[in-house]
């Protein structure tokens, strides 16, 4: 439990243990790996957004000099029906296999159809052009509202909407309808003095990691197959490949490379199963690296959404009812993050009457994947915009309105349980007292504020701390480190053992070395893997104490451990951890602590952001002039990397709110599949991102940690959207606020 205490390492801005390798270019990312005899795989992709695949003739490609293997959907062993638990959520294997390589239909432009492995990338690309695919082009449907129409082209003949009162008798593009409610919204709105209701649209946004997907694999029929890849969860890569290709888990080893960004987008598989098939067929190691346009065309962005929000409040500021509606674009296969969108939409508010309805819709765009607080930014954007408008109508300060209605310990959520201790009120108060909020706006500027809620998760983490004879230790963990988590693990173990950081080396181990470990996602790593490293380190301390007690012929209760030294409370002796480790073989064997936990009690993290913008009234161009991100960390293990999560999330959200969007041509092809025209924020686009780290401890973590990775991307949509509207005296209803859209709002009068 976490009352105030003095820490030696926790809370320090330490140098990350993997840092030197990363700043010198020595760190090995997935595309940096090569095996002897390795060949290269490339993918043929559909130019059509929706078509039947009538035939695929690969004979010319197979005969092309330098080609070793060709793969199509038919190379999956089949029977990959049903779904499996790949870590945190159920994955529909049939859909997954059909997304990796199209079966009888292509469902989006860029959908993989076949793959070639050849002596070089160049030869593989030449061979792709020799594959003859016969398509019967079908009408495609690109927009959510169109896909939901009864007469829309249907993507999946076997998809019948789930969650309707009556069983549907016709297939539909609506995979699921869901509704969560509590109280009586009609009665709540009847009590309200002010009601605001608006409709919103949010574009799909790509995670935009700078490192394209990449892997190198070696299939081994008799022994053990190997995958070296860029992933947030190598145990899930193993699970998915095992199921898709019928390989026993123990015969498939996945080695996580350093990962060049994920943000949720590297929690599934695209290349690895194809590479394994090509390796199996060619008998050679196969390397595959996506081109940037493939990343944008065929890997998961998050969903576009159509939304409605309606909020009612009394004159005194009491919110009486909140109602939401949303339809999320899942892409070509069911499974948008609509459900978390529904669950999070109004969670920052303590309101008794809430009703939210959601639709998961398929259409002829690439399958979506998780992206930082999946589903929450879209729905909470709609909610925050309407809450700000309620404050405006009531003549109330938007922070005061939120404080009056803020979710806190004991607040009933729409998704079931009551909240435990959370830090929204503290974040709102910090925002209100911030220099930013206290500052005056210049002429022509606008200011926006928004809150954000994300659950955070726990789950499986497996860790071993091995102590060596020189007193140093290895922290063997299974959570791929995307943002500096090895530093946090090192600090937590150092805190327990009371020895200097540089005596401890954290290692992200392969799937053979540890039991299953959940994906780095859901803001779980510092929380859950952190709990596991603490438990493992505590086991080391117990062993060290026991060895010292045995040496002194006293009981374990008669010794005390602090700062890396065991002291005999019954005598004068003391012995260092290093000395105990040196003699460990003689005192009962080497010293090591393991913890395989299923962490529960993840603490939600609330965030509140403030944004000032300036709008060029003649061109509609928006300049973010000041930005502050405030968020509850529970306890910041490494404040630098906690701030980094806030800043990075804020800037991804700013990009989504201002310029990031998918543009499709009339054939349904992505027209901006590159960093030139998919416009992520640049260094020159931004001011410094100020941060305020609020610490309301999570009682379920020994040091009070909450996850911090995701909540920061939620508030920017509302904070930027409201600020833009504030600057031009209009109401923003559609993101991104790109210059043409803002200019047309200005001109619309």
């Amino acid at each position: 439990m976490s009352e105030a205490r003095d820490f030696k390492y926790i809370g320090q801005r330490t140098i990350r243990p993997d840092g030197a390798d990363k700043v010198t270019g020595r760190a090995n990312y997935a595309a940096d790996f090569a095996l002897p005899g390795m060949i290269w795989g490339k993918i043929l992709r559909s130019p059509h957004a929706h078509a039947k695949v009538l035939s695929i003739d690969t004979s010319k490609a197979e005969a092309y000099p330098g080609v070793f293997a060709v793969a199509t959907h038919a190379d999956f062993p089949g029977g990959e029906g049903g779904s499996i638990e790949a870590g945190e959520s159920a994955v529909n294997l049939k859909d997954l296999s059909r997304n990796i390589l199209a079966d009888d239909k292509v469902l989006y432009a860029g959908h993989a159809v076949a793959a070639v492995a050849a002596v070089s990338e160049r030869v593989a690309e030449e061979a792709l052009e020799l594959i003859e695919v016969s398509y019967e082009v079908l009408p495609h449907v690109m927009e959510i509202e169109d896909a939901m129409q009864a007469d829309a082209p249907v993507l999946h003949e076997d998809m019948f909407t789930k969650g309707l009162d009556e069983e549907p008798d016709k297939p539909s593009n609506v995979a699921t309808r869901t509704e969560l409610k509590m109280g009586d919204v009609e009665a709540g709105f009847a009590e309200a003095d002010v009601i605001v209701e608006r409709e919103f649209k949010v574009s799909r946004a790509h995670q935009g990691y700078i490192e394209p997907h990449a892997c190198t694999v070696r299939y081994d029929e008799d022994g053990q197959s190997l995958i070296w890849c860029s992933t947030q969860g190598h145990f899930d890569v193993r699970a998915l490949n095992s199921q898709l290709l019928g390989i026993e888990l123990s015969r498939l080893k996945v080695i996580p490379a350093e990962i060049g960004g994920g943000f949720g987008g590297k929690t599934t598989v695209y290349l690895e199963p194809i590479a394994l098939i090509l390796s199996r067929k060619s008998g050679k190691p196969v390397k595959m690296v996506m081109d940037r346009d493939e990343v944008f065309m065929a890997t998961g962005p998050t969903s576009a959404a159509n939304l409605k929000a309606k909020v009612g409040a009394k004159k005194d500021g009491t919110i009486t009812a909140m109602q939401g509606w949303m339809a999320y674009d899942a892409g070509a296969f069911a499974g948008s993050p609509m459900m978390p969108g529904v669950m999070t939409m109004f969670t920052p508010y303590d309101c008794p009457n809430v009703l939210v309805e959601g639709y998961d819709v398929v259409l002829n765009r690439s399958k979506t994947a998780a992206y930082r607080a999946p589903g929450a930014p879209q729905s909470e954007f709609a909610a925050e915009m309407v809450v700000n408008e309620v404050a405006e109508k009531l003549g109330m300060d938007p922070i005061d309105l939120r404080l009056q209605n803020a979710a806190k310990e004991g607040t009933q959520t729409i998704y079931g349980p009551k909240l435990k201790r959370v830090g929204l009120v503290e974040c709102l108060e910090a925002a209100k007292n911030s220099p930013h909020y206290q500052s005056a706006l210049a002429e022509g500027q606008g200011r926006g504020i928004a809150a954000g809620f994300w659950f955070n998760i726990g789950g499986s983490s497996s860790v071993t701390v091995n102590m060596h004879s020189d007193g140093t230790g290895s922290i063997i963990e299974g959570s791929p480190d995307i943002g500096g988590s090895r530093a946090s693990m090192q600090m937590m173990v150092a805190e327990v053992l009371g020895i200097p950081l540089d005596r401890l080396k954290p290692i992200v181990a392969d799937t053979d070395t540890l039991p299953y470990n959940g994906t780095t996602g859901g803001s779980r790593t510092t929380f859950a893997t952190g709990m596991a490293v603490i438990e493992a380190a505590e086991k080391v301390v117990e062993q060290v104490k026991a060895r010292a007690a045995a040496l002194w012929n006293v009981t374990a209760e008669q010794v005390e451990y602090a700062d890396g030294v065991v002291r005999n409370l019954a005598g004068e002796e003391s012995i260092s951890l290093a000395e105990v480790c040196k003699s460990a073989a003689q005192t009962g064997g080497e010293i090591s602590g393991s913890a395989n936990i299923n962490a529960r009690g993840a603490g939600p993290s609330f965030a509140v952001h403030l944004c000032d913008v300036e709008v060029d009234q003649e061109t509609g161009k928006v300049d973010v002039t000041r930005y502050t991100a405030i968020q509850d960390a529970g306890k910041a293990i490494h404040p630098g990397y906690v701030e980094g999560q806030y800043q990075g999330g804020a800037v991804q959200g700013i990009g989504w709110a201002l310029n990031e969007e998918y543009v499709y041509n009339d054939k349904g092809q992505v027209d901006n599949a590159g960093f030139l025209d998919y416009r992520v924020p640049l260094a020159s686009d931004l001011p410094m991102i100020d941060t305020i780290v609020v610490e309301v401890p999570n009682a379920f973590h020994p040091y009070g940690v909450r996850g911090v990775g995701e909540s920061g991307i939620i508030p920017p949509l509302g904070a930027v959207g409201w600020a833009v509207g504030n600057a031009i005296d209009r109401k923003v209803e559609e993101l991104p606020c790109s210059p043409p859209r803002v200019l047309s709002m200005i001109q619309s009068g």
Partner: protein, 98 residues
């Protein structure tokens, strides 16, 4: 690990003893027709078995695929959880994250 039981300041609970309360959110409500029920079972799997028997439209696979909250503490994969007699149990969509 942490005990998943504890007093909850819910007035409804004060008059009940030795029974866990199971609450159904909107996602399950259409199948149960009621917002809460009680059970004497304590093992998660026994509770699921009892619920499936009590509400014939409730699907065991669906329940087993959900997360639960025991007195507000979310448990992702609850297979072997034991729910205390004074506890409140919610089924909820299993969140993953990005």
């Amino acid at each position: 690990m942490f005990a998943a039981t504890g007093a909850v300041d819910d007035p409804v609970r004060l008059i009940r003893t030795a029974m866990a309360i199971v609450c159904f959110s909107g996602e399950l409500l259409p199948f149960t027709g009621e917002e809460r029920t009680e059970t004497e079972a304590s093992a998660f799997r026994d509770i699921v078995a009892e619920l499936v028997q009590r509400y014939d439209r409730l699907d065991e696979e669906k329940l087993m695929g959900m997360a639960i909250a025991i007195d507000g503490v979310i448990v992702h994969t609850p297979l072997l959880e034991v729910i205390g007699p004074d506890s409140e149990l919610h089924f909820l969509h299993r969140i993953s994250g990005g």
